[in-house]
Structure formats: structure tokens, C-alpha cells
Amino acid sequence: MKGALDPQAAAELIPEGASLMIGGFMAVGTPERLIDAIVARGIGGLTVIANDTAMPGKGIGKLISAGLVRRVIASHIGLNPETQAKMIAGDIVCDLVPQGTLIERIRAGGMGLGGVLTPTGLGTDVEEGKQVVEVDGRRFLLETPLTADFALVGAWQADYIGNLSYMLTAQNFNPIIALAGRTVIAEAESIVPVGVIPPDAVRTPGVLVDHLLIRAI
């Protein structure tokens, strides 16, 4: 890990037009202080890769409301009417991806695999424009890997090596995006001394994390 930053300093790392993978599922597990710092700095033209865009006023919804997002790659935007409205108005381009395909594409990007062969989406709109690969007589869609300039990870516990653990459903996309961001910034609810998180409780090894957000309290 390279160090612990305050939210402002973390946001300063992110240039206009960057691509961001952001953890969370309907804002559960989303690094809110980091989002707030991006909104405060007004970093625009962002591409957001995430499960959803939450709802107005929460998590990724704040980026949408602030007009900072140009493109969204997500599985679901239905609970954020602003995203839908901006998509219809042409202000945001949305790529909708089945949730299981989305997380697996991110994993492939982070783990050096060339893509994902999935039955999901075969014979539907999702198949359009994609390579179909036959394996042992069965057909699969070839879905390409995803990476991003930054992964913004929401965690429960961290230590100063950057090891992260998660709590219940706040885990979701977080440990996977931590593999696929070229720079990984993690915001944890608490930071504990090195050695306090048992090795078996670590879900994201510290070697993946570039920066930690300083503690809120």
C-alpha cells in the first residue's frame, strides 16, 4: 500500500473522464466519503462500472445527480429514475449487462483471463454483436474482460497493509473490483492495527490496495 489519504487527496488522484469501478449494491457497501469527495471536486465525464446506480442521494446516485457520469456499465438502473431519465435524454450512455456476466467480466479483467464463456444472454438482445464459442457441442457467449482506471472499494475492516474484510451483503462487488482497478482506493469503516485481522478473514489481500482512506473517526 502506498498510504492513507484524506478523501480530498484521494479525489485529486482521479482525473476528468476516468473510469471507476465502484463497489456496492443499491449503495450497500459503497464508499460514501469517497463519492462525496468526487462530487465536491466535480470530476466529470466519468465512466462508472458497478452493479447499479443506487437511488438519488445515495452512493453512485450522488454522482448521477451531480451530472458527473457520462457512461454507466451496470446490471440494473431501475431504482434510480434520474439515471433512466438521463439515459433517455442522451446525457448518459448505459450498457446493461446481466449481473452474473458483469461480475465475471470484472473478475476476468482482474485475473488475466481473456474473457468469460457464459450461457447467460444466449438468444436474447444481449447476444447482439458478440462472438459465440462452441465448447463440446454447447454454445456460449464470449463476454470480454473489464478493467478500470480506479476501483473504489467499500470495506468493513482494513489494516495499514491494505488487507480488507467485509460485512455480510456489503461485500457484493467489492472484493472483485479490487482485482480490476489499475489504482485501488479502499474506504473502510474501521482501520485496525496490522495483525488484528486473522489471515482467514481477509477477503482482499493488501497487495491489491494502493490507497486507504484515513479514518472518519
Binding site: H76, G78, Q99, G100, R107, T120, D125, L168, F173
Partner: protein, 217 residues
């Protein structure tokens, strides 16, 4: 009993002891209310929990434990939390015994459309495509008609969720089992005649000699 409760009570009878079941948002989520705890059923939410319990008492909500709709839930003893890659690995890999989803249309091929009304509603497919592709058993729980139009149609006019044939359709009028030979009418809702159902259905139905009345939980 209103139509939704009737559907939920009938679907509950499809839930097998000790099985792993995913319930979609809305009507499908009502099914849990009618499944006895003694059956040892584990409910999964695709955001990463196996062993979903009821809504917690007022004041005991925890923002680390929500269902796929973002609502607060509890965890039963023996619950497990998993990341999104594992969650969809379980779904896609056939480890999920049953999924119950809402529908917009089901057609004579047993195909389901439930994620998009082009030009009107484009919320994204979320986990639906993976669920319909991968679950061992797919049950559609929906009203038989919407705005006077049958949702059991000859051929889906809305974009398909998957090309996999769903296993059962439960509506407020009927239980229908898609098969090789088409849509087989298996059961009638209380007080509804076979003729009523045929009249309310756009698709052709295969009608066996005996179409018993639904038994509800």
C-alpha cells in the same frame, strides 16, 4: 384473498424441504411468508446472502444486511455471506434449486420476457437472465393479465430473458406447465373454470381431462 396472496400461497407449495431458493423482488418475495420454517429452506438473495430471514424489528436494521431490493433483512442461524461472483456461480452452476420471478410475458415455447419494455421501461436485467438460465427450476409468478391483455401469449413480443423453457407459471387464474407439447393447463384457481382461463389466455393451452382446483398453503 387478493390475487397476489393467492399466487404466493400456490407457489409456496412448490418449495421443497431443504432447498435453496431465490425469490425476485415484489410479488415473488411474498412467497417466503407462506413457507414453513420447519422445511429448512434457505432463501438466497443474489447480492450475497444465503439464509435470508424476515425484516428486522424497528430500530434493529443493519445497513450491512439487505436483500436484492435493498430492503433490510435478517439472517437465519447457519447463514452464509458470499461475494457476487460466488453468488452468481451458485446460480449459473445449477446449485440454486429454484427461482421465483415475476413476468411480463410467457409464450407457448415457455419463454419468459420480464426485463424490458422497449421505449418505456429499461431498468436492466439485474440477475434475471442468470437466474432463468441457471436455476434448476424456474417458476414464474405473475398476474394472468395486465390492463386487460393476456400475459400468456403465443409468442413473446417483448425481449426474452432467456431461451430456456421455464418450468411452471402460476397466475391468479391458473397453474400452467410449459412442456414439449406446449402450455399444459395443470390447475384452476378456486372458482375459475377451464373456459374462463381459455378465454383469458392468448396462447393455446393443452387441456388435460382433469384440471383440478389449486391447493393453497
Amino acid at each position: 384473498m387478493d390475487a397476489k396472496e393467492l399466487i404466493a400461497r400456490r407457489v409456496a407449495r412448490e418449495v421443497r424441504p431443504g432447498s435453496l431458493v431465490n425469490l425476485g423482488i415484489g410479488l415473488p418475495s411474498m412467497v417466503a411468508n407462506f413457507v414453513s420454517a420447519e422445511l429448512g429452506v434457505f432463501f438466497q438473495a443474489e447480492n450475497g446472502v444465503i439464509g435470508l430471514g424476515a425484516r428486522p424489528p424497528e430500530g434493529m436494521e443493519d445497513h450491512h444486511l439487505t436483500d436484492a431490493g435493498g430492503g433490510f433483512v435478517t439472517a437465519v442461524p447457519g447463514a452464509a455471506s458470499i461475494d457476487s461472483a460466488m453468488s452468481f456461480g451458485l446460480i449459473r452452476g445449477g446449485h440454486l434449486d429454484m427461482t421465483v420471478l415475476g413476468g411480463l410475458q410467457v409464450d407457448e415455447a415457455g419463454h419468459l420476457a420480464n426485463w424490458k419494455v422497449p421505449g418505456k421501461m429499461v431498468p436492466g436485467m439485474g440477475g434475471a437472465m442468470d437466474l432463468v438460465t441457471g436455476a434448476a427450476r424456474v417458476v414464474v409468478a405473475m398476474q394472468h393479465a395486465a390492463k386487460g391483455q393476456s400475459k400468456i401469449v403465443r409468442r413473446c413480443t417483448l425481449p426474452l430473458t432467456a431461451v430456456r423453457r421455464v418450468d411452471l407459471v402460476v397466475t391468479d387464474l391458473a397453474v400452467i406447465e410449459p412442456g414439449e407439447a406446449g402450455l399444459v393447463l395443470r390447475e384452476r384457481a378456486p372458482g375459475v373454470s377451464v373456459e374462463d382461463i381459455i378465454a383469458a389466455t392468448e396462447a393455446a393451452l393443452v387441456v388435460p381431462d382433469d384440471v383440478p382446483e389449486m391447493i393453497l398453503t
